[in-house]
Amino acid sequence: MNNSVLKGTGYVLVHVPGMLMHHGTTQTTERSVNPDSEYLKELPGHIRSYEDCLAYPPNQTYIGNLSIEELSVIEEPWFDKKVENPSRFGPFGEVMPEDEFAVLMQICDAFDLVHLDREFVRNVKLKLEAHPLITQSMHALIKEGEDSELIRKQVEREHAQPIIVGDQLVGYVKRAHDVDVNLSAHVIFENLVSKASEVLTILHLLRQSGIDPTEVDYVIDCSEEACGDMNQRGGGNFAKAAAEIAGLLNATGSDTRAFCAGPAHAIVEAASLVKSGAFQNVIVAGGGCTAKLGMNGKDHVRKGLPILEDCLGGFAALISENDGINPEINLDIIGRHTVGTGSSPQAVIESLVTNPLTAAGMKITDVDKYSPEMQNPDITKPAGAGDVPEANYKMIAALGVKLGQLERTELPAFVKKHGLRGFAPTQGHIPSGVPYLGFARESMLAGRTVNAMIIGKGSLFLGRMTNQFDGISFFMQKNTRKESPSAVVAPALITDLPVIGVAVPDSELGTEMIRSAVDTARKKGYQAFLIEGDACLDRMDEMLKSGEIDAAVAAHYAFPVGVATVGRIQTPALGREMFLATTTGTSATDRTEAMVRNAIAGIIAAKTCGITEPTVGIANVMGGRQCERILKILSERGYAIRFADSARADGGVLMRGNDLLQGSADVMVMDTLTGNLMMKMLSAFTTGGGIESIGYGYGPGIGKGYDKRILIVSRASGATVIANAIEYAAQTVTGDLLAIARKEYDKAKKAGLKTLIDEMKQRSQTGVSTAASIIVPPRETCTEEIHGIEVMELDAAVEALWAEGIYAESGMGCTGPVLMLNEARIEQATKILRDKGYVR
């Protein structure tokens, strides 16, 4: 039976100095036991600003902006180092500031327990509205807030827990019951923090994996909190509570608890649920923990460091049915710490690492990377706990020596080769094995690594129910489905990678640069080579035909009419991946028809790269409205499209310049010339228009019936772009571009694409010609506007109303063309325009 796959991950940090000071147990304990202590006096001087927390290298690694390799070369300690131009958002998630999180907590509160200051809400609401992932339905839950005086009274007299941002009391969480300790303000506060950070992480996971929220059918929460009342402490269920806010309408769920080993247990459960066929898309998620904030604060203060435990951590992963692409969770290799195992480190590592590998006929050196507890050593070393991941690697290597799989002298080399630097916040369950999942997935998709072992461990004795220790490990491997469904490991896969030819005649940057790009791609595990000479493009064509190469990266290649290329770019600053449809070629000679066909090509490209339901936005250019109308009808008639929503306040499918920069849609549809312009601007953005240094180039030529995989780069494309283009080319093979294209064009045809385009062409030809026979009705005051009419049809729409005796004028609003008329006429006019097909 097919293994399930890891389809996406989400990683979130929330910088919460207020909670650190007022809710971390080290601080609250100190305040009650030793209120005048030096520590409490010195504490405020050791708090980091949001900017410092954001620029802190391990935090940038946690959200995916800085690779583990890049982090490893930064000399430790890291607390005094800063990443230049750090981004709040990364491929895996974000670092959210405390003020926005306070409002998010209120959004996640279903029982009117979170109350915020009116002025505070007014300010922060605007910030949260700009957040790309907080949905409209979530915004609608934000309450107005109340007077600061009332808030102060609640905290001073009614046992409410304060919410403090900066030095300001901005709200409180009140108790949910007068006597029930399980519903005390303290417990509710902790639980809402866990829920809200879990929700945020799930939103990032949805965005990253591209899954439709309604397709998620199970959620497993693996945090370390307990929600319930005095009659059922820990009754649950965080999973379903978070799923509700995140809009997972078709999901049910439950909570799994195993201290820090919770996430690893939950992944094994999720993988089993999917493999059994009981559920198709299971999310594992865990929110952050206030109690652990500043846990080692005394040591950090004593050693003159900032308090590094100032962030809540969130983690989420999507486990889905095998898609033949994403890395698999191999359930044949599960390390288990059983009741009889015992708790000595040796027994623990044997049970979790060497026993399952030996049973599968593998040696410790057969695993590319191990991910045990990934605590950031910057935090643990000053507290006397050493470098936790490194200690784990040494233990694994030492066992390897004992088993005769490794020479003792090879121990340090093993640690370096199979180990990873720790980078996760010490939030208990958060660092335990799973922080590496995101990087592991990327690395296996790119063919850089073949497998990894994820090891979760937990200290059950802390609950005082048993003296037992606990742990579980699982094995992740590159997708094996196409090659050999029963294979346990897939080291052979690398040689089965697609072969890519690169033919770039007359690069402005020279052949050496192209050679170095090919080298880079090869180092990443891609099979690519340079096709040289004056006739390199002809040679490339021949090699494609003969099957010598599976795909090609080329410059100056002429496609037939009907084929246009879909570029792929990372947006500046935010680094979001976006497909520009299209960037070269001609999908049709009629502008609007071309844009409709570009949309389909964009969807094909995105799906090929693993985004199962890409969001589609249409650039607000001439022809945009008409394109929108046709795509919407097409979608209603069976060619389902997931439309994006503009990040601007008024929303809509039409994308403004801001949306292009924000990457509001996975696929941005536009005419080819505009696409070409955008591609060049976005990819040469950081070099001031010099070398194109960002993105994947202009992408594969896509068109109905077109059966080649040729990707375009320009003569100004730099080494990074060409190396990325090789990766994109490999994905057109592994993701089966041609099969997806056939399927999509077939679906669009069945939904009536041709008829719709013919009707549109006819309308734009006949639209203006009747003008002479129309009498303009008497002028009326025009106070109302009708939006959504295509600019090329605007005059025809005005005349259509004149013909019916309604006075109207055309004009330009700030987002596009508008038709203006008297308010008394609006209903009748809208009906006429709808009947005639000018608006929807």
Binding site: P345, Q346, A347, G384, G386, K394, A398, K402, L411
Partner: protein, 107 residues
Amino acid sequence: MDLENQKRVKEIADQFGPENVIVVLGAAEGEAAGLAAETVTAGDPTYAGPLAGVSLGLLVYHICEPEIKEEVDAGIYDEQVSMMEMVLDVDDIITEMSAIRDQYTKY
């Protein structure tokens, strides 16, 4: 040292008499071993737990020190501890532990 462990050490010392108790540590490096040893001899250096200001002066060893290793069945030691022995800086641990014992142990 964990507050709960401090409490248990204190209770055991009270119950059986400090002269009859030996504490065996499993800490992963010298500094941590030294801190734990200091806690059960001179008292909790962080002044957070039940042993704050309580100088029990107990005899204390790390599991990897030769005095303890000699007491343990060689087969069991190999099965339970030999891996960690390979990983840890045993010399550093012995230095730290000896210093604490010389200074604070009363028995």
